[in-house]
Symmetry: C2
Subunit: 314 residues, 2 copies
Protein backbone atom coordinates (compact mmCIF):
# COMPACT_ATOMS: atom_id res chain seq x y z
CA UNK A 1 0.00 0.00 0.00
CA UNK A 2 1.21 3.47 -0.96
CA UNK A 3 0.53 5.20 2.37
CA UNK A 4 -1.69 5.13 5.46
CA UNK A 5 -4.79 6.39 3.65
CA UNK A 6 -4.51 3.58 1.12
CA UNK A 7 -3.98 1.03 3.90
CA UNK A 8 -6.84 2.34 6.00
CA UNK A 9 -9.38 2.03 3.20
CA UNK A 10 -7.75 -0.82 1.28
CA UNK A 11 -7.45 1.21 -1.92
CA UNK A 12 -4.72 1.61 -4.55
CA UNK A 13 -4.75 5.39 -4.98
CA UNK A 14 -5.34 7.94 -2.18
CA UNK A 15 -8.03 9.68 -4.25
CA UNK A 16 -11.44 10.01 -2.64
CA UNK A 17 -14.53 11.22 -4.46
CA UNK A 18 -16.49 13.43 -2.08
CA UNK A 19 -19.98 12.46 -0.97
CA UNK A 20 -22.16 15.23 -2.41
CA UNK A 21 -25.90 15.79 -2.15
CA UNK A 22 -27.72 15.27 -5.47
CA UNK A 23 -24.48 14.30 -7.27
CA UNK A 24 -22.86 11.18 -5.90
CA UNK A 25 -25.02 8.08 -6.07
CA UNK A 26 -23.88 4.55 -6.88
CA UNK A 27 -23.08 5.39 -10.52
CA UNK A 28 -20.39 7.91 -9.70
CA UNK A 29 -19.06 6.17 -6.57
CA UNK A 30 -18.75 2.77 -8.24
CA UNK A 31 -16.58 4.15 -11.06
CA UNK A 32 -14.16 5.80 -8.63
CA UNK A 33 -13.95 2.68 -6.46
CA UNK A 34 -13.47 0.47 -9.51
CA UNK A 35 -10.61 2.73 -10.67
CA UNK A 36 -8.81 2.13 -7.37
CA UNK A 37 -9.88 5.24 -5.47
CA UNK A 38 -12.60 5.50 -2.83
CA UNK A 39 -16.08 6.28 -4.14
CA UNK A 40 -18.51 7.81 -1.67
CA UNK A 41 -22.29 7.66 -1.80
CA UNK A 42 -23.66 10.95 -0.46
CA UNK A 43 -26.54 9.98 1.85
CA UNK A 44 -27.47 13.58 2.72
CA UNK A 45 -30.02 13.75 -0.10
CA UNK A 46 -31.33 10.16 0.23
CA UNK A 47 -34.09 8.50 2.27
CA UNK A 48 -32.72 5.47 4.17
CA UNK A 49 -34.26 2.97 1.73
CA UNK A 50 -32.90 4.95 -1.24
CA UNK A 51 -29.45 4.71 0.33
CA UNK A 52 -29.87 0.93 0.66
CA UNK A 53 -30.73 0.69 -3.02
CA UNK A 54 -27.62 2.68 -3.97
CA UNK A 55 -25.39 0.50 -1.81
CA UNK A 56 -26.80 -2.69 -3.35
CA UNK A 57 -26.39 -1.36 -6.90
CA UNK A 58 -22.83 -0.25 -6.22
CA UNK A 59 -21.91 -3.67 -4.82
CA UNK A 60 -23.20 -5.32 -7.99
CA UNK A 61 -20.66 -3.46 -10.16
CA UNK A 62 -17.59 -3.34 -7.94
CA UNK A 63 -16.15 -5.47 -5.18
CA UNK A 64 -13.77 -2.67 -4.19
CA UNK A 65 -14.08 -0.63 -0.98
CA UNK A 66 -16.46 2.33 -0.93
CA UNK A 67 -17.90 4.70 1.67
CA UNK A 68 -21.07 6.53 2.63
CA UNK A 69 -21.08 10.18 3.69
CA UNK A 70 -23.50 11.09 6.48
CA UNK A 71 -24.16 14.72 7.47
CA UNK A 72 -24.82 14.37 11.20
CA UNK A 73 -27.72 16.83 10.98
CA UNK A 74 -29.69 14.25 8.96
CA UNK A 75 -33.16 14.01 10.58
CA UNK A 76 -33.68 10.21 10.53
CA UNK A 77 -30.05 9.44 11.24
CA UNK A 78 -30.83 6.29 13.29
CA UNK A 79 -32.52 4.70 10.29
CA UNK A 80 -29.69 5.75 8.00
CA UNK A 81 -27.05 4.28 10.31
CA UNK A 82 -29.02 1.04 10.56
CA UNK A 83 -28.93 0.69 6.77
CA UNK A 84 -25.17 1.34 6.83
CA UNK A 85 -24.60 -1.37 9.45
CA UNK A 86 -27.03 -3.83 7.78
CA UNK A 87 -25.33 -3.47 4.43
CA UNK A 88 -21.84 -3.73 5.90
CA UNK A 89 -20.57 -0.42 4.54
CA UNK A 90 -16.82 -0.55 5.26
CA UNK A 91 -16.17 3.20 5.69
CA UNK A 92 -18.34 6.12 6.86
CA UNK A 93 -17.47 9.79 6.42
CA UNK A 94 -19.35 11.96 8.92
CA UNK A 95 -19.66 15.73 8.63
CA UNK A 96 -21.50 18.77 9.97
CA UNK A 97 -21.82 17.69 13.59
CA UNK A 98 -20.17 16.31 16.71
CA UNK A 99 -17.64 13.56 15.88
CA UNK A 100 -18.33 11.92 19.24
CA UNK A 101 -21.98 11.24 18.39
CA UNK A 102 -21.60 8.13 16.19
CA UNK A 103 -17.90 7.22 16.12
CA UNK A 104 -18.12 4.65 18.94
CA UNK A 105 -21.26 3.02 17.55
CA UNK A 106 -19.74 2.70 14.07
CA UNK A 107 -16.38 1.42 15.27
CA UNK A 108 -18.03 -1.24 17.45
CA UNK A 109 -19.45 -2.56 14.19
CA UNK A 110 -16.03 -2.65 12.53
CA UNK A 111 -16.68 0.42 10.39
CA UNK A 112 -13.83 2.85 9.66
CA UNK A 113 -14.81 6.42 10.59
CA UNK A 114 -13.59 9.63 8.97
CA UNK A 115 -14.81 13.06 10.06
CA UNK A 116 -14.73 16.33 8.12
CA UNK A 117 -13.28 19.37 9.95
CA UNK A 118 -12.75 23.05 9.11
CA UNK A 119 -10.14 23.88 11.80
CA UNK A 120 -7.39 22.49 14.02
CA UNK A 121 -9.48 22.45 17.20
CA UNK A 122 -12.05 20.03 15.79
CA UNK A 123 -9.30 17.90 14.21
CA UNK A 124 -7.72 17.38 17.63
CA UNK A 125 -11.14 16.55 19.12
CA UNK A 126 -11.72 13.96 16.38
CA UNK A 127 -8.45 12.25 17.15
CA UNK A 128 -9.27 12.18 20.87
CA UNK A 129 -12.66 10.62 20.11
CA UNK A 130 -11.14 7.74 18.12
CA UNK A 131 -11.84 8.87 14.55
CA UNK A 132 -9.56 6.99 12.11
CA UNK A 133 -8.73 9.82 9.71
CA UNK A 134 -9.63 13.44 9.11
CA UNK A 135 -10.80 15.33 6.07
CA UNK A 136 -9.70 18.94 6.49
CA UNK A 137 -11.90 21.05 4.29
CA UNK A 138 -10.72 24.50 3.23
CA UNK A 139 -12.71 27.71 2.78
CA UNK A 140 -12.66 27.21 -1.01
CA UNK A 141 -14.78 24.04 -0.82
CA UNK A 142 -18.31 24.02 -2.25
CA UNK A 143 -21.53 23.77 -0.25
CA UNK A 144 -21.57 24.00 3.53
CA UNK A 145 -18.42 25.27 5.17
CA UNK A 146 -16.95 26.37 8.51
CA UNK A 147 -17.07 29.85 10.05
CA UNK A 148 -13.30 30.31 10.45
CA UNK A 149 -12.68 30.70 6.68
CA UNK A 150 -9.37 28.80 6.80
CA UNK A 151 -8.04 28.00 3.33
CA UNK A 152 -6.58 24.66 2.26
CA UNK A 153 -3.08 26.18 1.96
CA UNK A 154 -3.17 27.19 5.64
CA UNK A 155 -5.35 24.40 7.03
CA UNK A 156 -3.62 21.27 5.71
CA UNK A 157 -0.17 21.83 7.28
CA UNK A 158 -1.62 23.06 10.58
CA UNK A 159 -3.89 20.03 10.92
CA UNK A 160 -1.01 17.78 9.83
CA UNK A 161 1.15 19.22 12.65
CA UNK A 162 -1.63 18.88 15.24
CA UNK A 163 -2.69 15.23 14.86
CA UNK A 164 -1.13 11.81 14.34
CA UNK A 165 -3.94 10.22 12.31
CA UNK A 166 -3.93 10.56 8.50
CA UNK A 167 -5.11 13.83 6.97
CA UNK A 168 -7.13 13.98 3.76
CA UNK A 169 -7.26 17.37 2.03
CA UNK A 170 -10.46 18.80 0.55
CA UNK A 171 -11.26 22.15 -1.00
CA UNK A 172 -9.74 23.57 -4.18
CA UNK A 173 -8.59 20.24 -5.64
CA UNK A 174 -9.79 19.63 -9.20
CA UNK A 175 -6.60 18.56 -10.95
CA UNK A 176 -3.30 16.78 -10.40
CA UNK A 177 -1.47 20.05 -9.72
CA UNK A 178 -3.63 20.64 -6.64
CA UNK A 179 -3.19 16.98 -5.63
CA UNK A 180 0.58 17.51 -5.63
CA UNK A 181 0.06 20.71 -3.65
CA UNK A 182 -2.06 18.92 -1.05
CA UNK A 183 0.52 16.15 -0.64
CA UNK A 184 3.31 18.76 -0.39
CA UNK A 185 1.38 20.38 2.45
CA UNK A 186 1.22 17.11 4.38
CA UNK A 187 -1.98 15.39 3.25
CA UNK A 188 -1.93 11.64 2.65
CA UNK A 189 -5.06 11.69 0.54
CA UNK A 190 -7.28 14.06 -1.39
CA UNK A 191 -11.06 14.33 -1.40
CA UNK A 192 -12.33 15.75 -4.67
CA UNK A 193 -15.88 17.06 -4.98
CA UNK A 194 -16.57 19.68 -7.66
CA UNK A 195 -14.53 17.96 -10.39
CA UNK A 196 -16.49 14.69 -9.90
CA UNK A 197 -19.81 16.59 -9.64
CA UNK A 198 -19.24 17.63 -13.25
CA UNK A 199 -18.88 14.19 -14.84
CA UNK A 200 -21.20 12.04 -16.91
CA UNK A 201 -21.94 9.75 -13.93
CA UNK A 202 -22.85 12.55 -11.52
CA UNK A 203 -26.61 12.79 -10.86
CA UNK A 204 -26.51 16.60 -11.10
CA UNK A 205 -28.72 18.18 -13.77
CA UNK A 206 -27.03 18.82 -17.15
CA UNK A 207 -27.83 22.53 -16.83
CA UNK A 208 -26.02 22.66 -13.48
CA UNK A 209 -22.98 20.91 -14.95
CA UNK A 210 -22.96 23.29 -17.91
CA UNK A 211 -23.22 26.29 -15.57
CA UNK A 212 -20.12 25.13 -13.67
CA UNK A 213 -18.23 24.76 -16.97
CA UNK A 214 -19.01 28.40 -17.77
CA UNK A 215 -17.93 29.69 -14.32
CA UNK A 216 -14.77 31.71 -13.80
CA UNK A 217 -12.45 32.15 -10.82
CA UNK A 218 -14.74 34.71 -9.16
CA UNK A 219 -18.04 32.88 -9.83
CA UNK A 220 -18.68 31.58 -6.30
CA UNK A 221 -18.94 33.17 -2.87
CA UNK A 222 -19.49 31.97 0.70
CA UNK A 223 -22.79 33.41 1.98
CA UNK A 224 -25.28 33.02 4.85
CA UNK A 225 -22.52 33.14 7.44
CA UNK A 226 -24.97 34.08 10.19
CA UNK A 227 -27.11 30.99 9.50
CA UNK A 228 -25.11 28.19 7.93
CA UNK A 229 -22.24 29.26 5.65
CA UNK A 230 -22.56 27.85 2.13
CA UNK A 231 -20.52 28.41 -1.04
CA UNK A 232 -22.67 29.02 -4.12
CA UNK A 233 -22.43 30.19 -7.70
CA UNK A 234 -23.72 33.77 -7.93
CA UNK A 235 -27.25 33.73 -9.39
CA UNK A 236 -30.61 35.39 -8.73
CA UNK A 237 -31.09 33.53 -5.43
CA UNK A 238 -27.55 34.48 -4.39
CA UNK A 239 -28.29 38.15 -5.12
CA UNK A 240 -31.49 37.99 -3.05
CA UNK A 241 -29.62 36.55 -0.08
CA UNK A 242 -26.70 38.96 -0.45
CA UNK A 243 -29.02 41.96 -0.62
CA UNK A 244 -30.82 40.76 2.51
CA UNK A 245 -27.48 40.29 4.30
CA UNK A 246 -26.36 43.78 3.28
CA UNK A 247 -29.43 45.32 4.91
CA UNK A 248 -28.78 43.21 8.05
CA UNK A 249 -31.73 40.85 7.67
CA UNK A 250 -32.17 38.60 10.73
CA UNK A 251 -31.12 34.94 10.62
CA UNK A 252 -34.86 34.10 10.72
CA UNK A 253 -35.53 36.17 7.62
CA UNK A 254 -32.56 34.62 5.82
CA UNK A 255 -33.86 31.14 6.71
CA UNK A 256 -37.27 32.08 5.41
CA UNK A 257 -35.80 33.36 2.11
CA UNK A 258 -33.80 30.14 1.84
CA UNK A 259 -36.86 27.97 2.50
CA UNK A 260 -36.57 24.27 1.62
CA UNK A 261 -35.38 22.22 -1.31
CA UNK A 262 -33.29 24.92 -2.95
CA UNK A 263 -30.19 22.69 -3.25
CA UNK A 264 -32.32 20.02 -4.94
CA UNK A 265 -33.85 22.66 -7.24
CA UNK A 266 -30.45 24.03 -8.24
CA UNK A 267 -28.31 20.91 -8.47
CA UNK A 268 -30.76 18.11 -9.33
CA UNK A 269 -33.54 19.95 -11.16
CA UNK A 270 -31.33 22.52 -12.89
CA UNK A 271 -33.08 25.69 -11.70
CA UNK A 272 -30.18 28.05 -12.38
CA UNK A 273 -31.91 31.22 -11.21
CA UNK A 274 -33.63 30.34 -7.92
CA UNK A 275 -31.80 27.16 -6.92
CA UNK A 276 -28.77 26.86 -4.63
CA UNK A 277 -25.85 26.11 -6.96
CA UNK A 278 -23.40 24.52 -4.51
CA UNK A 279 -19.89 24.15 -5.97
CA UNK A 280 -16.30 24.88 -4.98
CA UNK A 281 -14.30 27.99 -5.87
CA UNK A 282 -12.27 25.73 -8.15
CA UNK A 283 -15.24 25.79 -10.57
CA UNK A 284 -13.21 28.14 -12.77
CA UNK A 285 -10.84 25.27 -13.58
CA UNK A 286 -13.67 22.93 -14.65
CA UNK A 287 -14.47 23.34 -18.34
CA UNK A 288 -15.86 20.03 -19.59
CA UNK A 289 -18.09 17.08 -18.64
CA UNK A 290 -15.99 13.92 -19.07
CA UNK A 291 -16.57 10.47 -17.58
CA UNK A 292 -15.45 9.94 -13.99
CA UNK A 293 -12.90 7.38 -15.24
CA UNK A 294 -11.43 10.02 -17.56
CA UNK A 295 -11.18 12.46 -14.63
CA UNK A 296 -9.42 9.80 -12.58
CA UNK A 297 -6.88 9.11 -15.35
CA UNK A 298 -6.25 12.83 -15.82
CA UNK A 299 -5.64 13.32 -12.10
CA UNK A 300 -2.92 10.67 -12.11
CA UNK A 301 -1.27 12.02 -15.27
CA UNK A 302 -1.43 15.65 -14.11
CA UNK A 303 -0.06 14.68 -10.70
CA UNK A 304 2.95 12.96 -12.26
CA UNK A 305 3.57 15.89 -14.56
CA UNK A 306 3.31 18.44 -11.72
CA UNK A 307 5.68 16.49 -9.48
CA UNK A 308 8.25 15.94 -12.21
CA UNK A 309 8.27 19.67 -13.05
CA UNK A 310 9.15 20.73 -9.49
CA UNK A 311 12.46 22.61 -9.48
CA UNK A 312 15.41 21.44 -7.44
CA UNK A 313 16.63 24.26 -5.20
CA UNK A 314 20.34 23.87 -4.54
Amino acid sequence: MLNRVCSLFGIRYPIIQAGMVWCSGWKLASVVSEKGGLGIIGAGSMYPEVLREHILKLKKVTANPFAVNVPLLYPDIDLLMKVIADEKVPVVFTSAGNPAAWTGWLKERGITVVHVVPNVKLAVKCEQRGVDAIVCEGFEAGGHNGKDEITSMCLIPQVRDAVQIPVIAAGGIADGRAMAAAFSLGAEGVQIGSRFAVTLESSAHPHFKQKVCESDDAATMLVMKSVVPVRLIKNTFFETITNAEQRCASPEELKSILGKRRAKAGIFEGDLTEGELEIGQVAGLINDIPSAAEVFDRLLAEYKSAVSALPELT
Copy 2:
Protein backbone atom coordinates in the same frame (compact mmCIF):
# COMPACT_ATOMS: atom_id res chain seq x y z
CA MET B 1 19.30 30.36 -13.75
CA LEU B 2 16.73 28.01 -12.21
CA ASN B 3 13.65 29.41 -13.96
CA ARG B 4 12.14 32.55 -15.49
CA VAL B 5 11.62 34.29 -12.14
CA CYS B 6 15.30 33.84 -11.27
CA SER B 7 16.33 35.10 -14.72
CA LEU B 8 14.00 38.09 -14.63
CA PHE B 9 15.36 39.35 -11.32
CA GLY B 10 18.89 37.95 -11.59
CA ILE B 11 18.56 35.94 -8.37
CA ARG B 12 19.60 32.42 -7.32
CA TYR B 13 16.42 31.29 -5.53
CA PRO B 14 12.85 32.18 -6.58
CA ILE B 15 12.05 33.34 -3.04
CA ILE B 16 10.77 36.88 -2.67
CA GLN B 17 10.30 38.62 0.67
CA ALA B 18 7.11 40.66 0.44
CA GLY B 19 7.22 44.44 0.81
CA MET B 20 5.24 45.10 3.98
CA VAL B 21 4.33 48.36 5.67
CA TRP B 22 6.18 48.87 8.99
CA CYS B 23 8.09 45.58 8.60
CA SER B 24 10.36 45.48 5.59
CA GLY B 25 13.03 48.17 5.55
CA TRP B 26 16.64 47.77 4.35
CA LYS B 27 17.60 45.49 7.26
CA LEU B 28 15.17 42.73 6.31
CA ALA B 29 15.41 43.19 2.53
CA SER B 30 19.21 43.18 2.46
CA VAL B 31 19.42 39.84 4.27
CA VAL B 32 17.03 38.17 1.82
CA SER B 33 18.84 39.63 -1.20
CA GLU B 34 22.22 38.64 0.22
CA LYS B 35 20.95 35.06 0.71
CA GLY B 36 20.10 34.87 -3.01
CA GLY B 37 16.41 35.70 -2.88
CA LEU B 38 14.77 39.03 -3.69
CA GLY B 39 14.41 41.41 -0.75
CA ILE B 40 11.76 44.10 -1.06
CA ILE B 41 11.68 47.45 0.70
CA GLY B 42 8.05 48.30 1.49
CA ALA B 43 7.65 51.97 0.56
CA GLY B 44 4.00 52.18 1.61
CA SER B 45 4.93 53.33 5.11
CA MET B 46 7.88 55.58 4.11
CA TYR B 47 8.22 59.24 3.09
CA PRO B 48 10.14 59.54 -0.20
CA GLU B 49 13.36 60.65 1.54
CA VAL B 50 13.06 57.80 4.05
CA LEU B 51 12.81 55.39 1.14
CA ARG B 52 15.99 56.90 -0.35
CA GLU B 53 17.80 56.33 2.93
CA HIS B 54 16.69 52.69 3.01
CA ILE B 55 17.82 52.11 -0.57
CA LEU B 56 21.25 53.62 0.12
CA LYS B 57 21.71 51.59 3.29
CA LEU B 58 20.67 48.38 1.53
CA LYS B 59 23.15 49.00 -1.29
CA LYS B 60 25.96 49.38 1.25
CA VAL B 61 25.47 45.83 2.55
CA THR B 62 24.58 43.90 -0.60
CA ALA B 63 25.32 44.23 -4.30
CA ASN B 64 22.56 41.75 -5.12
CA PRO B 65 19.27 42.67 -6.80
CA PHE B 66 16.44 44.01 -4.65
CA ALA B 67 13.06 45.64 -5.22
CA VAL B 68 10.75 48.33 -3.86
CA ASN B 69 7.02 47.76 -3.34
CA VAL B 70 4.78 50.73 -4.14
CA PRO B 71 1.06 50.71 -3.28
CA LEU B 72 -0.37 52.80 -6.14
CA LEU B 73 -2.68 54.63 -3.72
CA TYR B 74 0.39 56.31 -2.17
CA PRO B 75 -0.38 60.07 -1.98
CA ASP B 76 2.99 61.52 -3.13
CA ILE B 77 3.61 58.79 -5.65
CA ASP B 78 5.43 61.07 -8.13
CA LEU B 79 8.07 61.88 -5.54
CA LEU B 80 8.39 58.22 -4.58
CA MET B 81 8.83 57.11 -8.17
CA LYS B 82 11.45 59.83 -8.71
CA VAL B 83 13.50 58.42 -5.82
CA ILE B 84 13.16 54.94 -7.33
CA ALA B 85 14.42 56.13 -10.72
CA ASP B 86 17.20 58.31 -9.19
CA GLU B 87 18.52 55.46 -7.13
CA LYS B 88 18.35 52.97 -10.00
CA VAL B 89 16.12 50.47 -8.23
CA PRO B 90 16.17 47.42 -10.57
CA VAL B 91 12.68 46.02 -9.81
CA VAL B 92 9.41 47.59 -8.65
CA PHE B 93 6.40 45.70 -7.32
CA THR B 94 3.21 47.73 -7.68
CA SER B 95 -0.02 46.89 -5.90
CA ALA B 96 -3.46 48.23 -4.99
CA GLY B 97 -4.17 50.15 -8.18
CA ASN B 98 -4.24 50.23 -11.97
CA PRO B 99 -1.24 48.40 -13.47
CA ALA B 100 -1.37 50.73 -16.50
CA ALA B 101 -0.64 53.82 -14.40
CA TRP B 102 3.15 53.48 -13.96
CA THR B 103 4.25 50.41 -15.93
CA GLY B 104 5.24 52.34 -19.07
CA TRP B 105 7.08 55.04 -17.12
CA LEU B 106 9.07 52.47 -15.13
CA LYS B 107 9.90 50.27 -18.11
CA GLU B 108 11.15 53.26 -20.12
CA ARG B 109 13.70 53.66 -17.35
CA GLY B 110 14.80 50.02 -17.60
CA ILE B 111 13.01 48.97 -14.42
CA THR B 112 11.38 45.52 -14.20
CA VAL B 113 7.71 45.78 -13.17
CA VAL B 114 5.69 43.24 -11.21
CA HIS B 115 2.06 43.82 -10.25
CA VAL B 116 0.04 42.15 -7.49
CA VAL B 117 -3.38 40.75 -8.49
CA PRO B 118 -6.23 38.98 -6.66
CA ASN B 119 -8.00 37.48 -9.71
CA VAL B 120 -7.57 36.22 -13.28
CA LYS B 121 -9.13 39.29 -14.91
CA LEU B 122 -6.53 41.68 -13.52
CA ALA B 123 -3.73 39.22 -14.29
CA VAL B 124 -4.70 39.24 -17.96
CA LYS B 125 -4.90 43.05 -17.93
CA CYS B 126 -1.38 43.24 -16.42
CA GLU B 127 0.03 41.07 -19.18
CA GLN B 128 -1.67 43.22 -21.83
CA ARG B 129 -0.17 46.35 -20.27
CA GLY B 130 3.40 45.02 -20.41
CA VAL B 131 3.95 44.00 -16.79
CA ASP B 132 6.90 41.56 -16.57
CA ALA B 133 5.54 39.16 -13.95
CA ILE B 134 2.53 38.77 -11.69
CA VAL B 135 2.15 38.16 -7.99
CA CYS B 136 -1.17 36.40 -7.48
CA GLU B 137 -2.21 36.96 -3.91
CA GLY B 138 -4.71 34.59 -2.29
CA PHE B 139 -7.50 35.34 0.18
CA GLU B 140 -5.32 34.00 3.01
CA ALA B 141 -2.76 36.81 2.66
CA GLY B 142 -2.36 39.40 5.41
CA GLY B 143 -3.28 43.06 5.16
CA HIS B 144 -5.20 44.46 2.19
CA ASN B 145 -6.85 41.96 -0.07
CA GLY B 146 -9.24 41.62 -3.02
CA LYS B 147 -13.03 41.37 -2.92
CA ASP B 148 -13.34 38.05 -4.77
CA GLU B 149 -11.92 35.98 -1.87
CA ILE B 150 -10.05 33.59 -4.19
CA THR B 151 -7.66 31.34 -2.29
CA SER B 152 -4.10 30.52 -3.34
CA MET B 153 -5.06 26.90 -4.12
CA CYS B 154 -7.62 28.09 -6.67
CA LEU B 155 -5.95 31.30 -7.85
CA ILE B 156 -2.43 30.10 -8.74
CA PRO B 157 -3.40 27.47 -11.37
CA GLN B 158 -6.10 29.66 -12.90
CA VAL B 159 -3.73 32.61 -13.29
CA ARG B 160 -1.04 30.24 -14.57
CA ASP B 161 -3.42 29.01 -17.29
CA ALA B 162 -4.50 32.53 -18.25
CA VAL B 163 -1.16 34.31 -18.81
CA GLN B 164 2.23 33.61 -20.40
CA ILE B 165 4.36 35.79 -18.07
CA PRO B 166 5.78 34.24 -14.86
CA VAL B 167 3.48 33.85 -11.87
CA ILE B 168 4.66 34.40 -8.31
CA ALA B 169 2.42 32.96 -5.58
CA ALA B 170 1.59 34.87 -2.40
CA GLY B 171 -0.75 34.11 0.49
CA GLY B 172 -0.45 31.19 2.89
CA ILE B 173 3.26 30.51 2.30
CA ALA B 174 5.33 30.39 5.48
CA ASP B 175 7.32 27.20 5.07
CA GLY B 176 8.88 24.95 2.44
CA ARG B 177 5.79 22.71 2.30
CA ALA B 178 3.71 25.63 1.02
CA MET B 179 6.54 26.58 -1.36
CA ALA B 180 6.36 23.10 -2.87
CA ALA B 181 2.57 23.44 -3.05
CA ALA B 182 2.83 26.79 -4.87
CA PHE B 183 5.29 25.38 -7.40
CA SER B 184 3.08 22.30 -7.90
CA LEU B 185 0.19 24.65 -8.72
CA GLY B 186 2.22 26.37 -11.42
CA ALA B 187 4.02 29.25 -9.70
CA GLU B 188 7.63 29.99 -10.64
CA GLY B 189 8.31 31.97 -7.51
CA VAL B 190 6.91 32.58 -4.04
CA GLN B 191 6.40 35.87 -2.22
CA ILE B 192 6.54 35.38 1.53
CA GLY B 193 5.26 38.07 3.89
CA SER B 194 4.09 36.98 7.34
CA ARG B 195 7.02 34.62 7.98
CA PHE B 196 9.54 37.40 7.24
CA ALA B 197 7.49 39.93 9.26
CA VAL B 198 8.24 37.80 12.31
CA THR B 199 12.05 37.77 12.15
CA LEU B 200 14.72 39.65 14.07
CA GLU B 201 15.36 42.03 11.14
CA SER B 202 11.69 43.01 10.65
CA SER B 203 10.90 46.52 11.91
CA ALA B 204 7.65 45.34 13.49
CA HIS B 205 7.28 45.87 17.24
CA PRO B 206 8.38 42.94 19.45
CA HIS B 207 4.86 42.78 20.94
CA PHE B 208 3.37 42.40 17.46
CA LYS B 209 5.82 39.61 16.61
CA GLN B 210 5.05 37.85 19.89
CA LYS B 211 1.30 38.16 19.25
CA VAL B 212 1.71 36.42 15.86
CA CYS B 213 3.67 33.61 17.54
CA GLU B 214 0.75 33.04 19.90
CA SER B 215 -1.88 33.03 17.12
CA ASP B 216 -3.68 29.89 16.03
CA ASP B 217 -5.26 28.82 12.71
CA ALA B 218 -8.44 30.81 13.38
CA ALA B 219 -6.77 33.96 14.73
CA THR B 220 -7.26 36.20 11.67
CA MET B 221 -10.25 37.30 9.62
CA LEU B 222 -10.84 39.44 6.54
CA VAL B 223 -12.95 42.47 7.53
CA MET B 224 -14.11 45.87 6.21
CA LYS B 225 -15.16 44.35 2.91
CA SER B 226 -17.44 47.32 2.16
CA VAL B 227 -14.54 49.77 2.52
CA VAL B 228 -11.19 48.15 1.80
CA PRO B 229 -10.88 44.47 2.76
CA VAL B 230 -8.07 43.81 5.22
CA ARG B 231 -6.97 40.65 7.08
CA LEU B 232 -6.28 41.26 10.77
CA ILE B 233 -5.67 39.38 13.98
CA LYS B 234 -8.84 39.49 16.10
CA ASN B 235 -8.40 42.09 18.87
CA THR B 236 -10.43 44.88 20.48
CA PHE B 237 -10.31 47.03 17.33
CA PHE B 238 -11.35 44.02 15.25
CA GLU B 239 -14.36 43.44 17.56
CA THR B 240 -15.38 47.10 17.27
CA ILE B 241 -15.30 46.94 13.49
CA THR B 242 -17.07 43.56 13.36
CA ASN B 243 -19.83 44.75 15.68
CA ALA B 244 -20.31 47.85 13.51
CA GLU B 245 -20.47 45.68 10.39
CA GLN B 246 -23.02 43.38 12.01
CA ARG B 247 -25.35 46.31 12.64
CA CYS B 248 -24.84 47.45 9.03
CA ALA B 249 -22.80 50.56 9.79
CA SER B 250 -22.22 52.69 6.67
CA PRO B 251 -18.84 52.69 4.90
CA GLU B 252 -18.42 56.27 6.19
CA GLU B 253 -18.91 55.16 9.79
CA LEU B 254 -16.48 52.27 9.31
CA LYS B 255 -13.89 54.66 7.87
CA SER B 256 -14.39 56.96 10.82
CA ILE B 257 -13.93 54.07 13.31
CA LEU B 258 -10.80 53.06 11.40
CA GLY B 259 -9.40 56.59 11.45
CA LYS B 260 -5.70 57.00 10.67
CA ARG B 261 -2.44 55.38 11.70
CA ARG B 262 -3.95 52.18 13.08
CA ALA B 263 -1.61 49.92 11.10
CA LYS B 264 1.38 51.87 12.43
CA ALA B 265 -0.04 51.67 15.97
CA GLY B 266 -0.55 47.92 15.74
CA ILE B 267 2.49 46.76 13.80
CA PHE B 268 5.17 49.37 14.56
CA GLU B 269 4.17 50.66 17.98
CA GLY B 270 2.85 47.37 19.35
CA ASP B 271 -0.65 48.52 20.35
CA LEU B 272 -2.22 45.06 20.47
CA THR B 273 -5.69 46.20 21.52
CA GLU B 274 -6.53 49.19 19.30
CA GLY B 275 -4.02 48.79 16.47
CA GLU B 276 -4.58 47.04 13.13
CA LEU B 277 -2.64 43.77 13.40
CA GLU B 278 -2.16 42.95 9.73
CA ILE B 279 -0.90 39.39 9.18
CA GLY B 280 -1.73 36.38 7.01
CA GLN B 281 -3.94 33.44 7.99
CA VAL B 282 -0.74 31.38 8.07
CA ALA B 283 0.08 33.09 11.40
CA GLY B 284 -0.85 29.83 13.14
CA LEU B 285 2.24 28.19 11.63
CA ILE B 286 4.59 30.93 12.91
CA ASN B 287 5.84 30.15 16.40
CA ASP B 288 9.24 31.78 16.81
CA ILE B 289 11.28 34.90 15.94
CA PRO B 290 14.43 33.70 14.15
CA SER B 291 16.77 35.70 11.91
CA ALA B 292 15.69 36.19 8.30
CA ALA B 293 18.71 34.13 7.20
CA GLU B 294 17.54 31.25 9.39
CA VAL B 295 14.04 31.49 7.82
CA PHE B 296 15.62 31.40 4.37
CA ASP B 297 17.67 28.30 5.20
CA ARG B 298 14.63 26.58 6.70
CA LEU B 299 12.55 27.31 3.59
CA LEU B 300 15.11 25.59 1.38
CA ALA B 301 15.46 22.57 3.70
CA GLU B 302 11.69 22.19 4.19
CA TYR B 303 11.11 22.50 0.45
CA LYS B 304 13.56 19.70 -0.30
CA SER B 305 12.07 17.51 2.37
CA ALA B 306 8.49 18.13 1.15
CA VAL B 307 9.36 17.37 -2.47
CA SER B 308 11.28 14.21 -1.64
CA ALA B 309 8.35 12.90 0.43
CA LEU B 310 5.86 13.17 -2.44
CA PRO B 311 4.44 9.74 -3.24
CA GLU B 312 4.78 8.19 -6.67
CA LEU B 313 1.34 7.21 -7.96
CA THR B 314 1.68 4.26 -10.34
